[in-house]
């Protein structure tokens, strides 16, 4: 069994984090309770991607030329897979993906490998001078970036390294290089395939023979290019450099973040421990390189897989003990402390035990007990335990070939993540929350200590000095702007609300809706024993709706069993042509039943539906509030409108696009497309496109656009003068592909549709998962979250983009740090000024009808997300056409 050794070489987990909570995977990496209304921490890959894939500070100036006479060397593919290299390679694939080709094979011929940068700003003439706005009141902000100064203008040299005969094992590859210290010096960064040196080797091609254990190998160094210290190509090496330095500070890499297991906090009562850690990455910003750092936590159960096995065995004491153990353990993820890796348990081998032997990669037989002792110095105490088996993670290209599975000893496997039972334990969750949720002050103080420790650490200092880098003290601070409050118009009134809370639900409760739809024919379906609840709900709805201007007649109350079949049978009997709405009072949140109902009512018999959990209604305190919310939501689904804001842009259509992926189950990906079809943004057309599993870029936008424009024309008897698209879910590495595919698709279609008239199209990429945070200094020097509407468009933005950050949502006091949303205008023939686009975007964050408050992303984005999510999770099929003009997916 060579699995163990193999996994060291290349068993890294490399799947990109999906934005969807549907993936069980998402809960695995960082199962720490989340801060409400902030997204889970950004993965390292995102950062790296952000960091390198699209950075080129000096694009406009001519690029650094290679040495004269240097042949343009090709063939440095992504790193071969040594531990140190796996992350850049992720970013590499992305970078290369953005060029429309993939360079995964190491021996890719005829292509110079370098980080590709999309400069979208150069085409936007109106912002060539400046991408900064002026509106709003200035505020002083702090960020979590630390400037990384480069002190010299000396060049760095990048060499491609090849081995003859070829060596696969990344550790071995590195070991061979370390034998050559005389030649290379002690300052070099090796990513598995290429080498960055602060000095030249003299020749453009150098061949050396290195010996390891009397095994001679010829190593060829070929100069690939000369780099400036600030060049984006260097970022990858800097990230590797930082990884090394962090390891010297007792921080171990798990997944993509770094954790310190010596400083763990133990919760003996809950049998849990939390490792403190950091997310770090080097980012190229407008002001140069910065180190972006954020706090992260790793949650581990003290229980090992062996504990679980023996515990279950004792409990069961019978034939089906194995079955029970399998059910509990298979599919869960475990962490092995000896190498800080996580694995998913795929199976259990009962016939084997730690004293069984396997064949190592060099051909010798060894027992698991001896192997662990020899390799890690870990002692396996119990010999009477089965082995766990995991298939390991393989590159996509290698997934379908035979691999030796990896065997794990249960005793050494710590369970990670929270079980459902644990999640329900209120006390435990509270304890965890108090530990992991950090308010801005605590968070920043912790990061400051971390940066200080970095700065004071001698080895780190020396290493940085060697590369002519210097970490500045203190976090980057600059001035942002808080935009003016947005006015909400509901009915004939303008509603004022406390902007700091970013919620106007209390202020609008008494005000008639903008467009109320009366509910005359509707059904309430309830299950046995819930007649009372259903009746109360109806009464409450009738109590709250008159103030909104909605008339709610009595519903038909119908009883059904809690099965899809029964619900549908009931509908078939009682729903008629006039039925406007069906409300289901569900006793449990069974996904199967929800899916069945939604499928039926969105595909077969298009009637808007509203599912309400009985549990929600049973809360004693808030029946009126809940009834209000349900009434509002139903009104939206029926085509009503709640409020509007003054967008300030005449005759503009807003479009939101988002994708839903379910890679785990290999289901088709769904792209949601949502377009406003009236100038007030109260009516939305929606369509979804079902695509191949995992495909992010959308094909077939033309048909969507066609229908949207047609509907707009029917409604307004003219075509919109401009079109503004908010696109969510695209990584930086895909920007180029996005421009080539989606933007081009839309542009060429619009040109046709408008018959040569100038089409004004603005395309904005929205990014939620970022690690950048902003803080504001409040009275007494305490750091706090910036208030909603804070815009940041300098220093931490990119030179080659027309981008900005907005903090739009509000976070309750003491719950954590608010995360800003990043916007990148990649195409803009409408020529919006920075002020205009920032103001517009912020206003759109007020237009999401399912929440009377400001949300993180512009409303079209969130509508598109909701649509894609419903279709991807429940429907798996196009919803019925006749629903396309209502917000049925809310």
């Amino acid at each position: 069994m060579t699995g163990r050794a193999r996994v060291h070489a290349r068993g890294r987990r490399r799947d990109t984090p999906s934005s969807e909570p549907a993936q069980p995977e998402a809960t695995r990496g960082c199962p720490v309770p989340r801060v409400p209304r902030t997204d889970p921490p950004l993965s390292f890959a995102d950062l790296v991607r952000r960091g390198t894939a699209a950075q080129q500070p000096h694009q406009i100036q001519p690029r650094l030329q290679p040495l004269t006479g240097v042949r343009h060397v090709s063939g440095a593919g992504p790193p071969a897979g040594a531990e140190a290299t796996s992350q850049p390679s992720e970013e590499h694939q992305l970078a290369s993906g953005s060029q429309g080709s993939l360079l995964r094979k190491k021996t890719d011929v005829g292509r110079d490998y370098r980080d590709f940068v999309v400069n979208t700003r150069q085409n936007l003439v109106h912002v060539r001078e400046s991408t900064k706005g002026t509106q709003g009141s200035p505020v002083m902000l702090f960020s979590n970036h630390v400037r990384l100064k480069s002190c010299s203008q000396r060049h760095l040299y990048k060499y491609n390294v090849t081995y003859t005969p070829d060596i696969e094992d990344g550790r071995k590859r590195e070991a061979f290089l370390s034998e050559l210290e005389k030649l290379l010096g002690n300052r070099c960064v090796y990513d598995g395939n290429s080498l960055l040196l602060p000095h030249s080797l003299g020749e453009t091609k150098k061949e050396v023979v290195s010996k390891l254990k009397n095994e001679p190998v010829k190593i060829t160094f070929e100069l690939s290019r000369e780099l400036q210290t600030t060049s984006p190509d260097c970022l990858r090496y800097y990230n590797i450099l930082f990884k090394k330095m962090l390891e010297k500070m007792d921080l171990n890499q798990i997944g993509r973040n770094y954790y310190n297991k010596n400083k763990k906090a133990e919760f003996n009562e809950h049998r849990l421990e939390i490792w403190p850690g950091y997310v770090t990455s080097i980012l190229p910003c407008e002001i140069g390189l910065t180190l972006c750092a954020d706090v992260s936590h790793k949650l581990l159960r003290m229980e090992t897989a062996y504990d679980l096995i023996s515990h279950t065995r004792e409990e069961a004491r019978g034939e089906d003990a194995k079955e029970k153990i399998l059910r509990k353990l298979v599919g869960s993820s475990v962490l092995t402390k000896y190498n800080n890796r996580t694995y998913r348990v795929d199976d259990i081998i009962w016939e084997m035990s730690p004293s069984s032997t396997f064949t190592k990669s060099d051909g010798s037989e060894i027992s698991f007990v001896d192997y662990y002792k020899e390799r890690y110095g870990t002692v396996v105490t119990t010999l009477n335990q089965p082995l766990l088996i995991t298939k390991g993670k393989w590159k996509k290209s290698r997934q379908d070939t035979t691999h030796q599975p990896i065997m794990l000893v249960p005793e050494l496997c710590h369970l990670t993540g929270l079980t459902d039972d644990m999640r329900k334990d209120y006390r435990m969750m509270r304890d965890l929350c108090t530990h992991t949720r950090m308010d801005p002050e605590r968070r920043q103080r912790k990061l400051l200590t971390f940066v200080d420790a970095l700065r004071k650490n001698n080895t780190v200092q020396k290493e940085l000095r060697d590369w002519n880098l210097e970490l500045e003290a203190g976090f980057l601070s600059f001035s942002g702007r808080t935009l003016q409050d947005v006015r909400i118009h509901q009915g004939r009134r303008m509603v004022r609300f406390d902007n700091h809370k970013a919620d106007w639900s209390k202020n609008t409760r008494e005000v008639p809706l903008l467009r109320a739809v009366s509910l005359d024919h509707w059904l309430i379906v309830y299950t046995k024993g819930n007649y009372g609840t259903a009746l109360t709900l109806q009464q409450n709805l009738q109590k709250v709706t008159p103030k909104m201007g909605v008339t709610v007649r009595n519903a038909k109350l119908l009883e059904a069993d809690d099965t899809v079949q029964s619900y549908i049978r009931t509908l078939e009997k009682h729903a008629s042509q006039n039925t406007q709405m069906v409300l289901f009072l569900l006793p449990t949140d069974n996904k199967e039943i929800y899916d069945g109902i939604k499928r039926y009512l969105c595909i077969n018999y298009p009637i808007p539906s509203q599912c309400v959990l009985k549990r929600t209604l049973d809360r004693p305190k808030t029946p009126v509030t809940i009834a209000t919310k349900i009434a509002l939501q139903m009104n939206c689904k029926l085509g009503g409108a709640l409020w509007k804001v003054d967008i300030g842009l005449q005759n503009a259509m807003f479009i939101g696009i988002d994708c839903f992926h379910d890679i785990e189950r290999r289901r088709k990906s769904v792209a949601g497309f949502v377009a406003s079809i009236d100038p007030d943004l109260t009516r939305w057309f929606s369509q979804c496109i079902i695509q191949q599993s995992g495909q992010e870029l959308v094909k077939g936008l033309t048909t969507c656009l066609y229908t949207a424009l047609k509907l707009w024309y029917e409604q307004n008897s003219s075509l919109p003068r401009s079109i503004i698209v908010y696109r969510d879910g695209v990584g930086d590495g895909q920007l180029q592909a996005l421009i080539d595919q989606e933007v081009k698709q839309m542009e060429s279609y619009l040109e046709n549709a408008y018959r040569g008239q100038k089409v004004r199209l603005t395309f904005i990429v929205v990014k939620k998962r970022i690690n950048t945070r902003f803080f504001i200094e409040k009275d007494g020097g305490r750091l706090n979250n910036p208030s909603p509407g804070t815009v940041i468009d300098l220093k931490v933005t990119r030179t080659e983009w027309y981008d900005f950050f907005i903090v739009s949502q509000s976070v309750r006091e003491g719950t954590g740090a608010v995360s800003p949303t990043h916007y990148n205008v990649i195409h803009d023939t409408l020529q919006l000024s920075p002020d205009a686009v920032q103001g517009l975007t912020y206003k759109l964050c007020h237009m999401y009808y399912n929440f009377s408050g400001i949300i993180r992303v512009p409303a079209p984005c969130h509508y598109a997300h909701k649509l894609a999510y419903l279709v991807g999770q429940s429907l798996h099929q196009q919803p019925h056409e006749s629903l396309s003009k209502s917000l049925f997916y809310l």
């Binding site: 934005s19 021996t107 599919g331 199976d347 035979t402 729903a575 039926y600 995992g694 992010e696 056409e881």
Partner: protein, 403 residues
């Protein structure tokens, strides 16, 4: 999130396919890159190598056009009486290509069907999937959980594979003689075929069933009847219907009791419903309970999905006159209008066509609706006209003028 799947070229797949052979020859090829030098020569050769080996991912072309001569679809009558079997076998997921065992059969469903009679008999059984290959427990469990939810082990109802196969044979063909062709959906064909072969191996009964695709069957019947070929997309959309998902007496007992949608028997029955619903009307067959689950709809004569065109007055009149059927078929029309390219085979001649133009308002309305749905309305309207329920007086003429 980014799509990291490489777009590979044909050469890559060619090389990958060669790898096992190279390994057998003892060459040290771990991956595609290693194998490239050994394959270049073969690649350069003119294509004489059979790229499409059985069991590869190319299930379709080799059965098209369908051989309907065996069915003797010479006349309508023969076609109506012809008996088809729809078969499906579920598996606990699909294992990667390098595994010897690709599927773990766990449930089988089969129905005997004719256009005239509808579903004549059905067969259903759970299958004991056998030992799960080492290391694939999670994979299989996850696959089962996301679809049919049949337990992967310790499931009492599972019969051993030999018995199941024997029972299936008995069901399909009680008397010795010619084996009738068996149909399944094209997407499932590879799996069903593999499972049948696998089960035959373990049971040592050899009877090579001919497995054809339902899509081809529908195309064939169409061709036979109208001498025109319908588009594949149209056929596919006709079969992808969710409306009977939860109809009674469609799923097997276990799946119905547990309220699980995915059931092998239900798949077969739903094929029968779809075929009945779309084809039987063209043959002027009165739909019975054996054709579609009518009993569910009898009580409701008022469920009429909303649709722009349905608001036209005469349509409603028509509906009132023929409650059960028209509701039913109009929902079917809904179904089809979902598909963007639900093109009705062009030029098909159906009785009742007339070229006189009336009711231009409706015509314009129809034109304003997207192309696809108007096509379907045309089609649908013609369907109703031939059905025995409606009198031909009602205004389908104006619709047919569009065709």
């Amino acid at each position: 999130m980014p799509n990291r799947r490489a777009s590979r070229n044909a050469y890559y797949f060619f090389v990958r396919e060669k790898i096992p052979e190279l390994r057998r020859r003892g060459l040290p090829v771990a991956r595609v890159a290693d194998a490239i030098p050994y394959c270049s020569a073969d690649w350069a050769k003119p294509v004489c190598t059979p790229l499409r080996k059985p069991g590869m991912l190319v299930p379709k072309q080799n059965v098209s056009p369908p051989d309907l001569s065996g069915l003797s679809l010479k006349s309508d009558q023969a076609l109506l009486g012809g008996i088809f079997y729809f078969l499906n076998i579920f598996s606990h997921g699909e294992l990667p290509p390098h595994c010897e065992q690709r599927f773990l059969p766990c449930e089988i469903g089969c129905v005997k069907y004719s256009l005239q009679e509808g579903i004549m008999a059905d067969f259903h059984s759970f299958i004991n999937p056998g030992e799960i290959p080492r290391g694939f427990r999670f994979h299989c469990q996850a696959a089962s959980d996301s679809s049919h939810k049949i337990p992967i082990s310790h499931f009492e109802s599972g019969h051993d594979q030999a018995t199941v196969l024997q029972n299936l044979y008995r069901f399909i063909h009680p008397n010795p003689g010619n084996w009738p062709p068996i149909y399944c959906k094209s997407d499932d064909r590879a799996r069903v075929n593999w499972c049948l072969k696998h089960m035959a191996q373990s049971s040592e009964i050899r009877q090579d069933l001919v497995l054809l695709t339902v899509e081809d069957l529908v195309v064939g019947i169409y061709q036979q009847k109208f001498l025109k070929e319908p588009s594949k997309t149209w056929v596919r959309s006709l079969l992808e219907v969710a409306m009977w998902d939860y109809s009674s007496n469609t799923r097997c007992k276990w799946h119905e009791e547990n309220d699980i949608l995915f059931c092998a028997l239900a798949v077969c029955k739903k094929i029968a419903y779809c075929v009945s619903n779309s084809l039987a009307t063209l043959f002027e067959i009165q739909l019975t309970e054996a054709h579609v689950p009518l009993q569910d709809y009898e009580a409701s004569n008022s469920v009429t999905p909303k649709m722009v065109v349905l608001d036209a007055g005469r349509y409603q009149k028509l509906r009132v006159e023929s409650p059960g059927f028209s509701h039913f078929s109009s929902s079917n029309q809904e179904q089809r209008s979902n598909t963007p390219t639900g093109d009705y085979p062009s030029g098909v001649k159906i009785s009742g066509q007339n070229s006189s133009v009336r009711g231009r308002g409706i015509t314009r309305l129809l034109e304003s609706i997207s192309n696809s749905s108007s096509n379907i309305h045309k089609f649908f309207n013609c369907e109703t006209s031939v059905s025995p329920y409606t009198s031909p007086k009602h205004g389908y003429k104006s619709f047919s003028s569009l065709s």
